[in-house]
């Protein structure tokens, strides 16, 4: 590794590249060193559990029956795919991901457009609107469950009374809509922040030029703002999907997956199978299915981020 110190050894042509390479290698290691702790930590803590999940999913293994663990191949996968509740959970997962993502991106874009205008108290408005995203989801879920959605004392039915709505038991009779509403409420601020960043990076000169040319607001929005916002909307949708697919807190706190299996999504069902039924093999197989599904979305997200990334962030555009 050390460069030759002896001046007696004539520097031959053959030696040169060796010296250069070893120097480069040393430079390489001093470069790599600061990276290693984080990289090793991430590999150990995030990758090994996923590999183990795959291994566990091939076992018949229930913690309530110790000593019966044995290899069963793909049988757990066969069991879960013929399980009615699992299929319901798959459908619910799609519903509880697609609906909140679409609603929050649409409502979020609308609010972002409103907030991008000159409006009295804009700073305060922005502070208030991020709050639903910041508050602890588990806490917010309980506040919704009792103080807002309660059929008798809840404040929602009170506000809706003038519109002829009676004492509706939202959580039991509209359980899916309840979960979708709470998730949408929570994720709209996320979309607002991303869309606002997009709106603010728009070149004012071009908008001014369009206005001078006589384009009206709608036309400017359709042919300038929307195309400019597109990567931001895509980013919001993909990141939103990746996070909302894993929705658990609101379901755990508000409906516990019910009534029946109406609000049981995959994370919640996996939780029940693993931590109520202690069926490690079957729960692991479900975990693998969730991971495979997420990889599909994540691949799209990564491709998108990587295309944004080639411009080194969207800041300068």
């Amino acid at each position: 590794m050390t460069p030759p110190t002896s001046t007696l050894a004539p520097p031959t042509v053959l030696q040169k590249p060796t010296v250069a390479r070893s120097r480069r290698r040393r430079g390489g290691w001093t470069r790599r060193l600061p990276l290693l702790p984080a990289l090793i930590f991430a590999v150990v803590v995030t990758q090994i559990p996923f590999l183990l999940t795959v291994w566990y999913s091939l076992q018949s293994w229930n913690l309530l029956h110790p000593g019966t663990k044995h290899y069963v191949g793909l049988r757990n996968y066969h069991t879960i795919f013929s399980d009615e509740i699992f299929r319901t959970a798959v459908v619910n997962t799609v519903v509880f991901t697609v609906a909140p993502v679409i609603l929050s991106i649409v409502i979020g874009t609308g609010i972002a457009l409103l907030l991008d205008r000159r409006v009295f108290g804009r700073g305060l408005l922005r502070t208030l609107i991020v709050s639903p995203f910041l508050v602890m989801p588990a806490a917010a879920a309980l506040v919704w469950k009792f103080t807002i959605l309660d059929p008798v004392f809840g404040v929602l039915n009170y506000f809706l009374k003038p519109f002829g709505v009676g004492k509706v038991d939202w959580i039991n009779s509209h359980s899916q809509a309840t979960i979708i509403t709470v998730l949408t409420w929570q994720w709209t601020p996320f979309m607002i922040l991303i869309v606002l960043a997009g709106l603010q990076s728009q070149s004012q000169d071009i908008l001014e030029a369009a206005r001078v040319d006589g384009a009206d607001g709608l036309r400017i929005f359709r042919s300038l703002t929307l195309p400019h916002l597109r990567p931001y909307l895509e980013l919001g949708v993909l990141l939103g999907s990746i996070y909302i697919v894993q929705a658990f807190d609101a379901i755990f706190m508000i409906t516990a997956g019910g009534p029946g299996q109406k609000t049981t999504n995959l994370p919640y069902y996996l939780y029940e199978v693993a931590f109520r039924g202690f069926d490690i093999g079957r729960a692991s197989a479900m975990g693998v299915v969730v991971v495979v599904a997420t990889i599909v979305i994540a691949t799209l997200a990564l491709r998108l981020i990587s295309s944004l990334f080639s411009d080194e962030g969207m800041a300068g555009r």
């Binding site: 803590v45 609010i111 588990a138 806490a139 981020i305 990587s306």
Partner: protein, 282 residues
């Protein structure tokens, strides 16, 4: 002349419409903010004012429920939350800052692949890892132990911190670093006198965002902890099926649970979007 008339007409129609849109904006924002406000308000009520029909919007405020919540066990959960969130955030920064440096200012050769490896770990759902995590934690006798959550929250926030810090480090002008190298400044001095002052606001924002995610996390906490290391969300689980009048009590607990992250989020507001988009949006 045509243009002038158009502008005048435009202004005439714009003023009331601006007012209408302004009022509309306020109404929508207040609807979104209402549950948070209602939570805080209900926490200041006496139990008999909390669950009423019609709801009481004006009442004699009291701090009784806040002190009751504090005395009835919330305190130890708060302590766990603070220890776990703060410790994991500090470890995240200690790991992420050198890594971000090696991915920006003095990049390793395959920095792009490494960067995408980090972000891909963030995209895998935690339910896909929870079972081995539970078994490993159990075998290491770390169930209901703060260390388990500290390690897992560190891995949860590490990719966000690496991406965010990298985006801040890229803003350090290369000329300044080169100039300092010409002046013979070593790496420690470079870090201390050039890089740290420039990125310290970014470092603070990154810390706040990691803190928020750790503080609010529920799934790992509910599966790996109970009373000895339970965080604030675990305290709240006891309200899922409670008895008697409890709304004011619940709201006070929820408000205390949310206050630290609201303050952290409001403080990091202008950097929030960068954290949420892993540095892709500035």
């Amino acid at each position: 002349m045509n243009v002038a008339r158009a502008t005048v007409a435009g202004h005439r129609s714009r003023l009331p419409s601006r007012l209408v849109l302004g009022v509309l904006t306020w109404i929508i924002v207040l609807i979104f903010f209402f549950p948070v406000l209602w939570m805080a308000l209900t926490g200041f009520k006496h139990e008999e004012d909390a669950a009423t029909s019609p709801p009481h919007f004006f009442f004699k405020p009291t701090l009784d429920e806040y002190s009751a919540v504090w005395n009835r066990g919330l305190r130890s959960y708060l302590e766990h939350s603070i220890t776990i969130s703060v410790t994991s955030t500090l470890i995240v920064l200690a790991l992420a800052l050198p890594a971000a440096y090696a991915l920006s200012i003095r990049p390793v050769r395959k920095w792009r692949d490494v960067l995408f490896f980090f972000i891909s770990t963030k995209m895998l759902p935690i339910v896909g890892a929870i079972i081995p995590l539970y078994i490993i934690t159990k075998n290491l006798h770390l169930l209901d132990h703060q260390l388990a959550l500290i390690i897992l929250y560190t891995s949860m926030n590490l990719p966000i911190a690496v991406w965010m810090l990298r985006s801040f480090l890229l803003e350090v002008p290369a000329e300044i670093i080169e100039a300092s190298q010409v002046d013979g400044a070593g790496l420690p001095r470079q870090l201390r006198s050039i890089i740290m002052p420039i990125i310290s606001p970014g470092l603070a924002a990154t810390a706040l965002i990691c803190f928020i995610f750790a503080w609010n996390e529920f799934f790992l906490a509910v599966n790996l902890t109970t009373t000895n290391a339970g965080t604030v969300p675990i305290f709240l689980v006891s309200f899922v099926a409670p008895e008697g009048q409890f709304w004011a009590h619940l709201s006070a607990a929820a408000t205390v649970a949310c206050l630290p992250v609201l303050l952290a989020g409001w403080a990091a507001q202008d950097k929030l979007v960068r954290g949420l988009s892993m540095g892709a949006v500035k």
